[in-house]
């Protein structure tokens, strides 16, 4: 049974944890540096990226996770988690940092403020149609040609990637954990 952490500093930790347990992972809530030990994978949940970034710095998790990412730890970031894994943040705070584990630039709230938050259907390669819940979602604006794009979505301004993979690092701009469809979590856990 793979041991999968969920970064539990802030955000929708409970939904991710429940879904990971459902697809057969042993789930660990990661609040302190030592909780990162012995993990096969880690999920960075949705939440507020500025708050999570600050709490990762004050808890000392940031440098250790950075090292683990370099060593090849499998990490899946949704929404705020995608922002934290990106190489460049557009419309973020001037001092906002990220792990640069995914070769893409992401625009915070790129799909608009809450009033524009939406549900749609996302076509995922190898899986098929899954529900996509986009909440103040980040938009992937530019990306490297060697990034594996697992799903594109057109919200009226052309196709943008919404689910991507770069080696062991996965990111998506929507919230599979808020639905009852666990296929993405299953895919991630099976890859470990």
């Amino acid at each position: 049974m793979p041991r999968v952490g969920v970064l539990a500093l802030q955000g929708d930790v409970r939904e991710h944890s429940a879904m990971l347990a459902e697809v057969g992972a042993e789930v660990v809530a990661v609040r302190q540096v030592e909780h990162l030990d012995g993990l096969d994978g880690l999920v960075l949940p949705g939440g507020e990226s500025t708050a999570i970034a600050r709490l990762m710095a004050t808890s000392g998790i940031r440098p250790v996770l950075e090292a683990r990412l370099h060593e090849g730890l499998s990490v899946f970031g949704t929404c705020a988690g995608l922002i934290l894994l990106s190489s460049e943040i557009l419309d973020g705070r001037s001092d906002q940092w990220s792990f640069a584990a995914l070769p893409l630039a992401v625009r915070r709230n790129g799909y608009g403020r809450q009033i524009a938050s939406f549900e749609s259907v996302v076509e995922v390669k190898g899986i098929g149609a899954i529900p996509g819940v986009f909440i103040r979602a980040p938009k992937i604006e530019t990306w490297s040609s060697d990034l594996e794009v697992l799903a594109m979505h057109d919200h009226g301004d052309g196709d943008h990637p919404v689910l991507v993979r770069y080696g062991a690092v996965w990111g998506c701009s929507f919230h599979p954990e808020l639905t009852s469809d666990d296929r993405l979590h299953r895919l991630f856990v099976e890859s470990l």
């Binding site: 955000g11 507020e48 708050a51 919200h155």
Partner: protein, 298 residues
Amino acid sequence: MNSPHDPSTIGSALVKRGLADMLRGGVIMDVVNPEQAKIAEDAGAVAVMALERVPSDIRRDGGVARMSDPQMIREIQATVTIPVMAKARIGHFAEAQVLQSLDVDYIDESEVLTPADEENHIDKWAFTVPFVCGATNLGEALRRIGEGACLIRSKGEAGTGNVVEAVRHLRTINAQMRRLTSADDAELFALAKDLQAPLALVQEVARTGALPVPLFCAGGISTPSDASLVLQLGAEAVFVGSGIFKSDDPVRMAQAIVEATTHYLDAGVVAKVSTGLGAAMKGIETASLEQRLAERGW
């Protein structure tokens, strides 16, 4: 937002409640200007509540408290990247329409402002922007959810710096939910009548043991230990009003309450962030209050 390419839905219950889910484990801070909003975001707030006066000043000044000036809300939206909430008076759907037109991320139909309707709350289903409402007990919480609220905060007593009412309201809501989970199906009809709450929601709580929307806590939280206390009592996030910017050192107080909210089960962390913090807001003993804001709302 809809386009020929994307048959998507905005304003669904899932996306409205979903934003509340994203705020869990976080601190929402009252701010009265862009400078305070920046301090809140720097300290790790997950959202700010834009208002003209914090509750303790509303209490002191008296008079009618209304929705904030749109100019001030826009300035705060331009300053921070986190969600911006704003308050409308209870029942004042026109203020809520104005706030929605300003693209605020959440509307608080709040007892801190002077109520505009003494019988009816806003029909919150009519809005695309989600609403948070206060509650002192389970019946009140379920009535608000029935009207379309996507997030409930226990009311506490705003502007007092005294956590006692917040504790009372959280404990009441939780005790009433526990009572429902041990009732048999036939008892739920009478319990719904006693709670003056929609039967379907009463049945749902009886089945799940929890509210169908997140439960946060507000009203009187003014120290890191207060945050830890209410989270241990079942709140999933905290609203801090006067407690930050009426303290001696707002920057440190804001950071400390954020840390204590994340690490609420770790008394060592709460002790560390509480050390040398300076004075919390002075506060008011609730027995001496002339106006109880929590009594507003029906």
